[in-house]
């Protein structure tokens, strides 16, 4: 099956075309400014041209069999991959108030893709889908939902596609060894916004992110968890409004804020500069705490698994975490696994598996 993967993010639209039995994608690229109807149409027009070119060069069809589209925040309505239909579009419209930037851009992109690839099914997969069934005790905030106007606001995870694939990998690994009980997995997704989830088999019990991806572990430019009083103090002392505070916490904080320049996780873990060392210690420490919380959530631990574009860091991080987590059971049999497939390939595989079963709703 030939799959065109579309990954829209806040800044740009990335795409990747898997064809000809998929050794490598035969075509990949990205477009900025895709976020409205015109932008999406232009991007998709160029994209069809690129696919035609690549098809000629690789002797492959220029038209995909299926389009895999990634959404970030789909709420409780989108648990499984969904074949795009008028019904799905109506459900998306209802979500606009909860994600006023993300959903309209996604809808514009769907319309543009439908126009550019008439008749090609589009399968929409939300990163939050894996976390729809997080237990209440984990997903609720300790506030009065009515007073704070947060009815329906809850915790999700935002790297569900990679977590799901990582947990599937662990399940297959155990199956091959004749173990059939659900694994207690701590899945660590090392992306620019890292995320840790505790998963029993395929059921997530705990995740570091929150009502938005800002909460949790520090990211490339995002602060992660903070004392909420700090937000209020910034408003009071600095006279900043919510937008200005948001810009600082989401664009100038995290690894960037700690190190003083744009950097990556592998760089932080390789460098001996003092500012990198502090950043590394902070990241390791927060991960260790999250692992401890995950272990408490799971009442034990069988596997640590790393995924995401910086999953290579797991080579050193994995054994370090394992050593600290097993201090009461030095004989502990926690496995450490790296799942290094990029998200676009994982998504293509997910959609191929789902496409066979999906019917329009």
């Amino acid at each position: 099956m030939n799959v065109l993967v579309l990954l829209p993010s806040r800044q740009r639209l990335s795409f990747c075309y898997f064809a000809n039995g998929w050794q490598q994608p035969i075509c990949a690229g990205q477009y900025d400014d895709y976020r409205d109807a015109d932008g999406s149409r232009l991007a998709l027009t160029e994209l069809t041209r690129s696919l035609a070119e690549a098809g000629r060069a690789h002797n492959a069809p220029a038209r995909p069999d299926v389009i895999a589209l990634r959404g970030i925040s789909g709420g409780a309505d989108f648990k499984k991959p969904a074949l795009v239909s008028p019904g799905v579009l109506r459900k998306l419209e209802k979500r606009v108030p909860f994600a006023p930037l993300h959903i309209p851009a996604l809808v514009a992109l769907i319309h543009a893709a439908q126009a550019a690839f008439r008749g090609v099914p589009i399968v929409l997969v939300f990163e939050t889908g894996f976390f729809v069934d997080l237990p209440e005790r984990e997903h609720l905030y300790a506030v009065d939902a009515n007073l704070t106007q947060t009815v329906g606001v809850r915790r999700f995870g935002y790297h569900g596609i990679l977590h799901a694939a990582a947990c599937n990998h662990i399940a297959r690994q155990r199956h091959a060894m004749g173990v059939h009980s659900p694994a207690r997995v701590i899945s660590i997704c090392l992306e620019p916004r890292p995320e840790l989830a505790a998963v029993l088999g395929h059921k997530p019990l705990m995740v570091t992110s929150g009502a938005t991806p800002l909460e949790g572990l520090p990211g490339q430019t995002t602060s992660g968890e903070l004392d909420p009083s700090i937000v209020l103090m910034l408003a009071q002392k600095m006279g900043w409004g919510p937008e200005q505070i948001n810009a600082v916490l989401t664009q100038q904080s995290g690894w960037l804020g700690l190190v003083g320049r744009m950097t990556t996780l592998p760089e932080i873990f390789a460098s001996h500069r003092p500012e990198c060392e502090l950043a590394r210690k902070i990241i390791q420490y927060r991960l260790l705490q999250a692992c401890g919380a995950g272990l408490a959530a799971l009442s034990g631990l069988d596997a640590l698994v790393f995924s995401g574009r910086y999953s290579g860091v797991g080579v050193s991080l994995g054994p370090w975490l394992k050593k600290h987590l097993a201090s009461h059971r030095p004989e502990s049999s926690i496995t450490v696994t790296l799942c290094q497939e990029p998200v676009e390939r994982v998504l293509a595989e997910t959609v191929c598996a789902a496409a066979l079963k999906l019917k329009p709703s």
Partner: protein, 430 residues
């Protein structure tokens, strides 16, 4: 040495007079409704021996309350303190060790008074009154943040632009230190372990505030509270951990009025906000067990309250490594077995094995509620912040290696000097 310990609330003043080092209580009481007149008169409730008394007397401020307490001690019992120990909630980056009060110390305290706007100012008013009325009486300030002075940089640093952290003093401070330190010392003594080799997680679960503390070799290495006492666990009316994006959203709803949001998150959230009927988690447990109440809000409140405790316990056990003990203290920690059970059940991976019968049938303190073969001891210990303050005060005043400083405006002895460029933060909604 008779030490008078003051624990100052915004409209109350608790005091205890203790003979140290024997720790014999000579007198104690609490002045209530200190401040502007309320519907009821200001009173002092006090004990002489085992007898309880009430004295009605107007007390317009903490200075007046202090004068009344001193009069009571002198007239009813013929008692006079040799020294005073004060509880200060926030020492900022200046103060760590118990500090003998002089003019320089008061000046430094003025600089950081806004870090704990509810708690520090009344304690300082009391210290001023004490200095004025009894200039020769030595006073020692004991800081709640002090025990957490050993939290390492990687644990107290938020992932914010470093400039911001330095300029505004934004970092984790940690709270309840006096209590965590006290129960840690009690627990180590109970287990006959030297403090310098003692690793534990201390759970101070009050009916109001609550925090967990990770302790390695007798030193605090982390606390669930942060820059202010709002972060961390779900508390009676405090929300605890919250997505910063939600805090920003609330700020936008309130048109930038941070005080309104602060009141919402500090006074109307937590157990009260979730349950909708009580701020006391004990009421939620009672309602659920007595009436089999199917109200989903009660179920949710109970679940979220204990789940967050359990997650933080796991996080801190991972930080501590090989823990000797988990310590439970203060009202909820001492008296609610369901909470201890929800935290410890199924935690064998950390070496915790709770003895259900001991947990449910607790009668004496301190008590060990772990099974005999549990690698980690589970201890329920009564906290006693006043005694802890008296101990620190006594040790400070009898420490011959650190002479008591004379009155001066210079930088106080035995306090941590701020590093260059690190100015104390001001204006926190604590």
């Amino acid at each position: 040495m008779n030490i008078l310990v003051f624990n100052c609330g915004s409209s109350s003043l608790k005091y205890r007079l203790l003979a140290m080092p024997a720790a014999v209580e000579l007198a104690g009481g609490e002045a209530q409704r200190v401040g502007p007149p309320t519907t009821k008169p200001s009173v002092i409730l006090y004990k002489v021996g085992q007898q309880k008394f009430t004295k009605q007397v107007p007390m317009a401020n903490h200075a007046a309350a202090f004068a009344e307490v001193m009069t009571l001690l002198r007239e009813n019992a013929g008692l006079q303190p040799d020294a005073v120990g004060h509880r200060l909630v926030h020492g900022g980056t200046y103060f760590r060790d118990p500090t003998v009060v002089n003019a320089g110390v008061m000046a430094r305290l003025e600089e950081i008074r806004d870090l704990a706007p509810l708690h520090n100012p009344p304690a300082m008013a009391l210290m001023y009154a004490c200095r004025e009325q009894y200039p020769d009486l030595p006073q020692v300030a004991v800081f709640d943040t002090a025990f957490h002075g050993t939290i390492p940089e990687h644990a107290y640093t938020y992932a914010l632009p470093r400039q911001l952290g330095r300029e505004l003093g934004v970092r984790k401070y940690g709270f309840h230190g006096t209590s965590h330190q006290f129960v840690m010392e009690e627990a180590a003594a109970f287990l006959k372990k030297p403090i310098t080799a003692f690793n534990a997680v201390s759970c101070h679960l009050g009916s109001g505030g609550a925090s967990l503390c990770a302790i390695v070799k007798g030193r605090s290495v982390d606390n669930t509270m942060g820059y202010s006492p709002l972060q961390g666990l779900m508390m009676n009316t405090r929300c605890g951990d919250l997505d910063p994006a939600l805090a920003m959203q609330l700020l936008a709803h309130a048109h930038g009025d941070s005080r309104q949001v602060s009141a919402l998150l500090n006074n109307q959230s937590g157990v009260l906000g979730m349950s909708g009927f009580t701020a006391d988690i004990r009421d939620v447990f009672a309602q659920r067990t007595q009436t089999q109440d199917a109200n989903p809000r009660l179920h949710q409140t109970e679940q979220v309250y204990t789940w967050r405790l359990r997650k933080y316990l796991g996080a801190y056990l991972a930080v501590v490594g090989r823990a000797d003990a988990v310590i439970f203290t203060d009202t909820i920690g001492e008296t609610v077995p369901q909470v201890r059970w929800a935290m410890c059940a199924g935690m064998e991976a950390f070496g915790l094995k709770l003895d259900q019968a001991r947990n449910a049938g607790l009668t004496a303190y301190p008590s060990d509620i772990a099974t005999h073969d549990s690698p980690v001891r589970l201890l329920v210990v009564l906290t006693n912040e006043e005694l802890a303050i008296a101990r620190r005060t006594f040790l400070r005043l009898t420490d011959h290696a650190a002479p008591i400083p004379t009155e001066s405006k210079s930088s106080p002895a035995r306090t941590r000097k701020p590093s260059p460029g690190r100015h104390p933060a001001k204006g926190v909604c604590a």
